[in-house]
Symmetry: D2
Subunit: 358 residues, 4 copies
C-alpha cells in the first residue's frame, strides 16, 4: 500500500519524488489564528537542506517553501495548509545503471517487488528528499505547541560518540554536524572527510529532547506517546532503531537502578530523582523532558562495488557514484526534531479532544 498521511487529529500528508517537479505536504487540523508565513518555516528547511557544506550531499536545492492555502491575513484559518517546494537541481544524468540493477540496502529492489516498477531517478519517492516536506510540516507543528522546546543533536557518527561532559546545546547550531560537543565536532570533520574521500559512509545516532511537555499527553494503549514517537522516527529514511529514555540500557538494569523517584518539588511541581523513562509512564507524559534516540544506518550509496542483481535477476556489481551524504544521519537531526513536534502537536490536540482544556 501507499500510506502518506501521519497523525490522528493534527495530520499531514506528503507527496513528491526526488526528481519530480516539486514536493509538498498538506497539513490538516491545525488550529486557526496562528501567525504563519513562509518565514516561520524556511529556517527549518534551511537547517536541513543539502549542499551547504562539504559534509553533506552536493545536490544544491534552495528548498524554498511556498504556502498555497490555509493562511489568510497572516494567520492560519483552520483549513488545510498546503506547502510546496520546487525541485531545482534534479541533475540530468544517465540513470541506466540504477534503472537496471538494484543498489543493496536501497529501496530499489523492494519498490520493484511491490509496485512492479519504480521511478529510479534519485530514488524517486524513497529519496530522503521527502523529509523536506515533513520538516516544513514540523515547523507548523512547533507553532501549535509553543509551550514545548525541542532540541535534537547528533550523538555519534559511526563509532565516534560525543562526550556528554562537553554537552552544550548552543553548539548544535554552530557546526555542520548538529554536534553539541565542540571538540567532537572538530574531530568529526576529519572523520567525514576521510569517509567521503574513501567513497564510504557512516551510520549515526541522533537524540532529541522536548522540554515543556505537560503531564498527561499520550493516548493509551495503541497511541502511547512511546509508540507514536517510535512510529514517527521509524518512518525516517535509514532509521533502524528507536529508544525512549534509557531504551536498551534500561533492559540491563534492576528495578532499583531504573526507578525515577518522585518528591515534592517547587511551585507544586514534582521533583523526579531521574528520567530513565524519558518522560513517559504508561505511554503518557510525566512532565519531564521527553527524550528519544534514533539509529541511522550508514548510507547505502557507496563507491565500493558491491554484488547485486539486475532487474532480470542476473548477477552484477554496482557502484554508486552520484551525489550523496556520507552520513545521512547528520541531516536527520532536523527531521527527528520535526517528527517530535508533529507527534506532540497531534497528542496535544488529541488530549484536549477527550479532556477539554484542562
Amino acid at each position: 500500500m501507499s500510506w502518506n498521511t501521519f497523525g490522528r487529529v493534527f495530520r499531514f500528508t506528503t507527496w513528491g519524488e526526488s526528481h519530480g517537479p516539486a514536493l509538498g505536504v498538506v497539513v490538516d487540523g491545525c488550529p486557526p489564528g496562528i501567525a504563519l508565513s513562509e518565514e516561520h518555516i524556511q529556517p527549518f528547511l534551511d537547517a536541513r537542506k543539502p549542499g551547504q557544506n562539504r559534509f553533506t550531499t552536493q545536490r544544491r536545492e534552495a528548498d524554498e517553501v511556498r504556502i498555497l492555502s490555509g493562511v489568510f491575513d497572516g494567520r492560519t484559518t483552520g483549513t488545510p495548509i498546503s506547502l510546496m517546494i520546487e525541485n531545482t537541481d534534479q541533475r540530468s544524468k544517465d540513470y541506466s545503471e540504477v534503472a537496471k540493477a538494484y543498489r543493496p540496502g536501497h529501496a530499489d529492489y523492494t519498490y520493484d517487488a511491490k509496485y512492479g516498477f519504480r521511478d529510479y531517478r534519485g530514488g524517486g519517492r524513497s529519496s530522503a528528499r521527502e523529509t523536506a516536506a515533513r520538516v516544513a510540516a514540523g515547523a507548523i507543528a512547533r507553532l501549535v505547541i509553543p509551550e514545548v522546546t525541542i532540541t535534537g543533536w547528533t550523538e555519534a557518527i559511526g563509532p565516534h560518540s560525543i562526550d556528554y561532559a562537553n554537552f552544550d546545546a548552543e553548539q548544535t547550531r554552530s557546526n555542520p554536524f548538529f554536534c553539541p560537543d565542540a571538540e567532537a565536532a572538530r574531530a568529526w570533520e576529519g572523520v567525514i572527510d576521510a569517509t567521503r574521500k574513501a567513497g564510504s559512509s557512516l551510520g549515526a545516532t541522533v537524540a532529541c529532547e522536548a522540554r515543556g511537555v505537560p503531564a498527561g499527553w499520550g493516548a493509551p494503549i495503541y497511541a502511547k506517546l512511546d509508540s507514536e514517537l517510535a512510529a514517527a522516527m521509524m518512518t525516517i529514511n535509514a532509521t533502524k532503531g528507536v529508544e525512549i529514555g534509557d531504551g536498551f540500557a534500561a533492559a540491563r538494569l534492576s528495578g532499583e537502578e531504573n526507578a525515577d523517584t518522585m518528591q515534592p518539588g517547587e511551585n507544586g511541581e514534582i521533583a523526579f530523582g531521574a528520567n530513565h523513562s524519558g518522560g513517559t509512564a504508561g505511554g503518557i507524559s510525566t512532565g519531564q523532558p521527553v527524550l528519544t534516540r534514533v539509529a541511522f544506518k550508514p548510507t547505502s550509496s557507496i563507491l565500493t562495488p558491491v554484488d547485486t542483481i539486475t532487474k532480470e535477476g542476473e548477477a552484477t556489481q554496482i557502484q554508486t557514484k552520484g551525489r550523496h551524504d556520507p552520513c545521512v544521519g547528520i541531516r536527520g537531526v532536523p527531521v527527528v526534531e520535526a517528527m517530535m513536534a508533529l507527534v506532540l502537536a497531534d497528542q496535544k490536540l488529541l488530549h484536549r479532544a477527550q479532556m477539554g482544556e484542562r
Copy 2:
C-alpha cells in the same frame, strides 16, 4: 485520549481492566472462511499466562478465551470476531496504599494527571493483563498469514545475555524463559530466584523473527514495515526501545560493513549476503526474515521502598508488595510474537488492497 484500536485494515480493539470482570478484544477485517475455534487461540494464551512457574507473577488466571461472534460452522465469517477472557483471580486486597501514593515508573501518576482519577486495582487499564487480549488477537492474525512462521525469544535478562552459538529455536518452548540457549536458561533460574527473593526486578531484551514474509509488504512512507513494527512493539507494557535488524549496531557501521549484498539464488530467489536490515528496505519487506528486538525495562514494582508522593503531592515512600513478575520481559515474548503477527496480517491485507493478489 484513549486509543484502543490498532491496525489499518486488519484491526483489533482491546478493552478491560486488571480487576474488572473480564477483558477482551474485537478483531475486525479478518478474511472469511478460516477455520477458527478456541483451540486455535488457547495455546498462545497458555504460553503467556501467569502463575505457571515460580519465575512469574503468582496471580493464577485460567485465561480461558471464549469466541462470542464472527465464527459460524467453525469458520470465520468475515464479520467482527469478539473474544472474551474472564478475570478470575482478582484477589481482594487492601488497595489503600497504591490508591493514595504513586509507584514510580508506573502509570499511577500519569493516569491521574491525564484523567483526574484512575482504577488503581492492579493497575487498572495500564496492567499488562491487557496483553492477553492481543495475544488472543495475534493467534487469529497468524491464521491470516499461514505463509509466515514467527518465533520470539528472550535474548537477555538484565545483563545476562544468551550465547548465540547455543541458539536452538526448539529450546524456546522448553524452559520458562523462552530462552533459546539451554545453558543460559539454567543459569537464569538462579538469577530470577535471587531477584525475586531480593524483591527486585530485571529488564530484558526480546527478539522476534518472522520467516516467510514475501518481498513487497509495507506501506511507504508513514506505514513502513519498520514503523508499524516499532509502533506495535512500543505499545507493549514496559517497552523502551525497538530495533529492526541490526538497529543501533548499524549506526556504528560503515556502508561496506552494513551492505546486504544480493546474488542470484536458487529457484529464482535472491541470495542475500547478509541481513543487517532485518528484512526491510525502504520500509518494504525484502523477502528475508523480518527481525525485531525489543527492550523491556525492569518491572517498577519492587520491594525496596522508594521515594514518591501522594496524590495530594506530599512526600512518602512506597514498597510494592503484591504479586508481580520479577522480569516482565519474559512473558513479553508471546506478546511480541502476537504484535509481529498482527502487523504482518494487516500489511498483507493492505498490500493486496492496492496491488491485488500478485
Copy 3:
C-alpha cells in the same frame, strides 16, 4: 471488507450476530469522570427492544446490558467501555429454507456474494439486532453532550403521515409507534394490525431533532455535520434515504424561499427567520436545531411468496414465516436518536481538539 467502527475521536465498535451468544460494543474516547451505570443505558435499550407489544417482532429479548470495563466507582475512567448484551431468545428452528434460498431485499445474497458463505440464523450479522449495540453506545454519547436534547419520532408509516398540527413531543413516548400525533397513533394501530395480518410490511419515515447544539460543530470538508449524519443514518438497517433540514423539498425551492434570514435575537443570540437548512451551513452547526429525516424501506420479510433463487442459482420461491417487524422503521426511532447522539458527541470532541474549550 468488514468495518465495524464508527467515529473519529469518540469511536465505537460493535460485534455480534442475531443468534450468537451475545452482542456488544466497545466505546473508546469517552471523557473520564462521567457518572455511568447500567441504569443510564437500559432505558434506551428498553425503548428499542422487541416483543413489547403486538406491533413489533415477537422475539422477546431482555436486552439487559452489562458494563464490562471503563467504569470505576460509578464513573467513566477515560478507558474503553465494553458493553455486552446476551442473546436469550434465539429460537431454535429449522433454517434450512433461508440457508438455501435468498430472501429478496435481504443481505442473504450479498453476504454470500461477498464472503462466500454466511451465518444464516436470523440474518447473522446483518440482523437489525446489531442496532441494540449502538443504542447502548448512544446512551453514553448522550452523557457526553448534556447540553443537547435529542428527540426522534415516526413521521409516516407507509403512506400514512402524521399531521404536524397535532405534533406533541410528549406523545412520542406514549404510544408504541413513537408517533407525536395521538390521532395518527390511534389510526396506525389498525394499519399495522392489518399489515401484520396480511403478512405484509410497510416502510416508514423517521425524523430526529437535536436542540442545544452550539454553533461551530462540524468538520469541513469531508466530515461535515451533514455528511457525518448521513453516513450514520445510512448504516442503520433498511435505510434508503436521509435529509438534513428540508432535504429534497429544498431542491424545489428558490433562493428567496429557502433563505434562513438572521436577525439579532435576545441575549446576544441570533434570531433565524427559518430553519430550512436543518441547523447546518457549510457543514457546521448554526446553533439552530439540527434536524434529520430518514427513510426506512418496508421489511423485506413478508408472507407473500416471492420469486428468488437458491444458493446454486436455481429458481424457487420464498415466504418468510419467522418473527419480524411489520414496520421496522418504528423501532428505528431509538436507533436514529442514538446515531444522532453518537455523531454529535464525536463532533463535539473533534471540535475542541482543534479549537480548545471555547
Copy 4:
C-alpha cells in the same frame, strides 16, 4: 475540526481556497501501472468548469490540472499523486460587505463561529471551487474501476422535472444542464434565464448511476455502500438530501411493492425483477446498477436583499451581487459522478484487502 481527507484505502486530501493561488488534491493508495496523464483528467474538469455558457457563474477559470507526483513514464507508480489547479480569475473586488455581514445560508457565519475568523474572499475554503479538486481525483478513481460506467444527470431544477419517458443518456453531454431529456433541456433555458435575470436561484436534484459494479463491494456495517455514498454526496456544497434506489419513495411502499425479486438469468447471472434497492442489500452491492439521487438547495447568493446580521451582531441587509450559479446543482453533476467513482474505487480496494482477488 478540519477534515479534508476522504476514503479508507484509496484516499484523497483536498486543499485550497477560492481566491488563493491554487487548489489541489493528493490521491493516495492508487494502484501502480495505470496509464495516467493530464489528458485523462482534464475532460472531467472541463465538464465542471464555470463560465462556459450563460447558465453558470461567469467566473472564467481554465481549471488546468498539473500532475506533480506519482506518475513516471506515463504510468502511476503507486505513490501519492499530487494534482494542482491554479486559480486565475480571482477578480479583485471590494469584499468589505461580505467581510462584515453574513450571507444567510452561506458558511460565512458558521466559519466565523467555529474558527473565529475566515477568508471571506469568494467564500474561502467553503467555496464550491473545492469540488474541482475532487473531480480531478475522481478521474483517477475511474481508472481504478474500469469495469464500472458512471453516468450522472440533472433530474430536476426547482420544480421542473425531466420526463423519464424522454430519457436519453447521450443527451446529458449535449446540453448545458446535463439534462437527459432534450425537451426539458430546452424548457430549462428559459427557466434559468428568468432566474438569473430575477437575481434569484433554484435548487436541483441530481441522479447518478454506476453500471458494472460486481456483487460484493461494501463494508458492513459502518462502511456500507449506502453509507459511504451518502457521506460522499453530503460533503458536496449545497447538498441537503441523498437517496439510494427508491429512497424516500420506498418508505411509502409495502414489502410486496418494494421486492426486488430474483430469477436465474443468462450466463449464470441473476435476473432481478426490479431495482428498488438501488443496487445494494445489507450495504453490499448486488450486481445491479448502483443508483443515488442528491438534493441541492438553491444557491444562497441572491440579488434580493435579505435580513442578516453583521459580525458584531447588528441588524443589516445583504444582497449578493457577485458572480454566481443561478442553479448550483447543475454543475454538481460532474461532482456527484466523481464522488461515486471515488467511493467505488475505495470499496473495490477494501474488498480485495479482505477477500483477495476473487
